[in-house]
């Protein structure tokens, strides 16, 4: 699973088909020294290609390495990814990091341990079977005979990993499965700089970008910079540079007021957004996702429904930021990108240089929840810094840029038809999922997709975003195939070939609409059949792990003994993320007042083997709250020219007084593969809230967000 999704699509390094397949990302980054470096001082560096985005991945990967090497966790040094030295693991996305990177690191560490032990055995004559590793020391029957640290300088890891390395047996694992405190959290709690935003280099200048007043705009005249500042212009890309942040902001305000743009209307009419999707869909690219035609009972009834969701923003709390510095013809960029190699590819294409001239160092930013402005700002910093060779430039986006100019998760419309037999059993499911593509990530097409690339004098065309292949979970049709037993299926998707508003990946991709549409129709069918929604699902669910999480969520919320309260509702929903990843069942309790409030969520999950139990709970909880926010509040608004929801009043997200209590239970499967945890709970939370609204108000929502206007 991890292999299919990362092969070809995610990373930029080619794979030699004649070599034996290695686990996870080790397959494309085969040298052990790319992953692990021992040091004579008794520490070991671990070099993942995946990056910390607040999900705790560095801690998780460190635990896997420490366990497999049999060293104390305190000896582990996690090194942030950078080009060209780090393994190319593509993008940190899709809840694949533990699968891709964890599997690779587990195998690499097992192999390193085997190599170190066999060298020690040869050198000392102690048979390898009688050696044990205790916190990095190799202990024979007569005592210590060596250690990783003694052999640290022997270049033992300058080899390709061997497919034969055997990770430990499950019973022998000591550090995996234990809630280990996050290594990145102390600095975040003490406020010591850890983010790229906190970088301070000698002589560093501060930059701000001046955005056009419309999506389609041509800069007619460039204002001059006041004394001490500099205007940088390349086509319609306009920025200012100054020695301090406040000067940069003051100059940006002055230039904004004086810049002259010629603009056009290019955005659809928001009031008719669903109709626009249908119309543009008719001109789009329609493809089959899955067709199945098994024997089935005859059809008694058909239900037709449509579901709509607006554009959604990532809405990171910190705005996008990067620092760039040119040296000769090469540029170094410090960035909170999710994919250093992918970013390098697009930056080098845009700058029309070669990849070796672009060095990317990952530094953390605020949580991104998908492809936000992180990559765009990195290119922009490089473009601006080109005006001042040798000088580091820090570019920070404003709140308006973050909410107005980053990529969005595409608005979507799905038309569903479900056939049922006389006894209510699901017989057939037909759907068409209409959407812009859900990936405009860099590094995946010959034409760069970064925001500024299409604004330069020598501009690149805007290429409509694509959908990752279904083997990688799909984009718009992600979770569009019901996980329930249905003999006849015809799931199709329509990708728009025009992109007035730039779209890319946000947590869950198409799942945020698809899971809700499927679960909503199932609830209706259960109701029509006079069956309990949980029982109805269970009779269509074969996978025992799916049944177990659904049953668990039902138990947690007291489903069987629930009582009706005026103005309150309880709903339940299930999904297995990407149909191949983690399982999540959510029960939601809502209170309907002047608007709908989600008061409680019960989350039952199964993420396969769990490395850091508290970390996984944190991810499932966070995803559920994100889902509640999307369900109740979130929508990007726009007029014919530009995004209008570019501040926190225009783009509302849940606040402390609105956040539901969350109770989470994970069903652990140490024998099963890692399934990832960041995205599984979000979509079923939306679906559970929709069901709870029906329970309270008797209304089945058909448009997100579930605001009074959309429920009217």
């Amino acid at each position: 699973m991890s292999a299919t999704s990362s092969s070809g699509f995610a990373h930029t390094t080619p794979v030699d088909p004649n070599k034996p397949k290695l686990p996870g990302s080790l397959n494309v980054n085969r040298r052990l020294s790319q992953w692990l470096r021992f040091s004579a001082d008794g520490t070991v560096e671990v070099h993942p290609g995946k990056v910390e985005i607040g999900q705790g991945i560095l801690t998780t990967l460190g635990q896997i390495a420490a366990d497999e090497l049999d060293v104390d966790f305190a000896r582990i040094r996690m090194v942030a990814a950078s080009t060209p030295a780090s393994p190319d693991e593509g993008v940190t996305s899709g809840s694949l990091s533990t699968q891709d990177s964890g599997t690779a690191i587990r195998h690499a560490a097992a192999d390193a341990r085997r190599i170190f032990l066999s060298v020690t055995s040869q050198r000392t004559g102690v048979p390898i079977e009688s050696l044990v590793v205790r916190d990095g020391a190799f202990i024979g029957p007569q005592g210590e005979v060596g250690s990783y640290w003694q052999l640290a300088n022997a270049d033992l890891l300058e080899v390709e990993a061997s497919p034969e390395a055997k990770p430990k047996a499950i019973e022998a694992r000591r550090q995996v499965g234990v809630s280990t405190p996050r290594i990145d959290l102390p600095e975040k709690v003490f406020g010591t700089g850890r983010y790229v935003h906190d970088m301070r280099l000698p002589g560093m200048l501060h930059a701000r970008v001046i955005r056009p007043v419309a999506r389609a705009a041509t800069l007619m005249a460039t204002p001059d910079a006041p004394e001490g500042a500099q205007v940088v212009r390349d086509g319609n890309f306009l920025a200012v540079l100054a020695p301090t942040e406040w000067q940069a902001e003051a100059v940006a305000a002055r230039v904004t007021a004086r810049a002259m743009w010629s603009v056009r209307d290019t955005l659809p009419e928001q009031a008719q957004h669903a109709e626009y999707l249908r119309e543009a869909g008719a001109r789009g690219e329609r493809t089959g996702v899955l067709a199945r035609d098994d024997a089935a009972p005859s059809v008694a009834r058909t239900e037709k429904r449509s579901f709509f969701r607006p554009f959604l923003a990532h809405a990171s709390i910190g705005t996008s930021c990067a620092v760039a510095q040119w040296n000769g013809d090469a540029v170094t960029i410090w960035s909170h990108t999710q994919g250093p190699y992918n970013l390098r590819a697009d930056v080098s294409r845009t700058l029309r240089t070669t990849e070796d001239k672009v060095l990317i160092h990952h530094m953390e930013g605020a949580g991104c929840y998908g492809h936000n402005g992180a990559d765009d700002v990195a290119l922009e910093a490089a473009l601006i810094a080109r005006a001042v060779p040798g000088t580091p430039v820090r570019l920070l986006w404003s709140r308006a840029e973050e909410l107005g100019w980053g990529p969005f998760s595409s608005a979507m419309l799905v038309d569903v038809e479900a056939d049922v037999a006389a006894d209510g059993t699901l017989v057939a499911w037909r759907s068409n999922i209409i959407s812009n593509g859900h990936s405009g990530r860099p590094g995946r097409s010959p034409i760069p997709t970064l925001l500024a690339a299409s604004q330069l004098e020598d501009a690149f065309p805007v290429v409509p975003s694509i959908n990752p292949p279904m083997a990688g979970g799909g984009g718009a049709p992600r979770n569009g195939i019901p996980y329930y037993r249905i003999p006849k299926l015809d799931v199709q998707t329509t990708r728009l070939l025009e992109m007035p508003i730039r779209s890319s990946a946000l947590r869950g991709l198409g799942a945020t609409l698809n899971v809700w549409s499927i679960e909503s129709v199932l609830d209706e069918l259960a109701e029509a059949a006079g069956e309990d929604p949980v029982a109805y699902r269970l009779r269509h669910l074969e996978d025992p792990r799916a049944r177990a999480v659904l049953q668990k969520a039902a138990d947690m919320c007291g489903w069987a003994t629930r009582t009706k309260r005026e103005g309150w509702g309880l709903g339940i929903a299930f999904a297995r993320y990407k149909n191949t990843g983690a399982y999540a069942a959510i029960a939601a309790e809502i209170e309907a007042k002047e608007r709908v409030f989600c008061r409680r969520l019960w989350v039952a999950g199964d993420a396969g083997e769990i490395v850091n139990p508290d970390g996984v709970v944190n991810q499932f909880e966070g995803g559920a709250i994100h889902g509640a926010s999307v369900a109740l509040l979130e929508q990007v608004t726009f007029d014919r020219r530009n995004i209008t929801s570019d501040n926190w009043d225009g783009y509302r997200v849940l606040r402390f007084t609105e956040v539901p209590a969350v109770e989470t239970a994970m069903l652990n499967h140490p024998e099963a593969p890692f399934l990832g945890s960041g995205e599984a709970s979000m979509a079923p939370t939306i679906a559970a809230i929709a069901a709870a609204i029906h329970d309270a108000l008797g209304i089945r929502p058909h448009a997100l967000p579930f605001t009074p206007e959309n429920l009217a």
Binding site: G54, V189, R194, E245, I317, N618, W648, V662
Partner: protein, 153 residues
Amino acid sequence: MTNFTLNGAAVSVDVPDGTSLLHALRGPLGLSGPRYGCGDEKCGSCMVLLDGVPTFACTLGVEAAGGKCVTTSEGLGDMAAPHPLQAAFLAEQAGQCGWCLSGILVSASALLAANPDPSEDEIRVALDPHLCRCGSHNRIIRAVRRAAQEMRA
């Protein structure tokens, strides 16, 4: 030139009038705890204490801090001597990306100074000026309650 007390030490900063306290803190004063998130009093990333009162540093002119005491998350404690709130946030693993935490910590410290035993609802209200996009809210509330308990003990 504006003079004030920053995390217990006298400082003076020479920036043009009207420059935000946030820019002064992150610029010449070299701090990282207070952060820009919106510049609009909507997210709390920039929150500091001004004579003990939670205040948005993004919109406050630096001159308004003249003669006052400014406290940032750096002033609450450090790794060697953490504030009970910082210890509690670590104990509860209250955070994901952590962006929101330094502002939330200072607001929480003001809350506990005024109300040593806040209810969950009182904590939510006190933290309502702060956005957390990662969904760490419930952990943060637990951490504030834990710190309150410890400070009362």
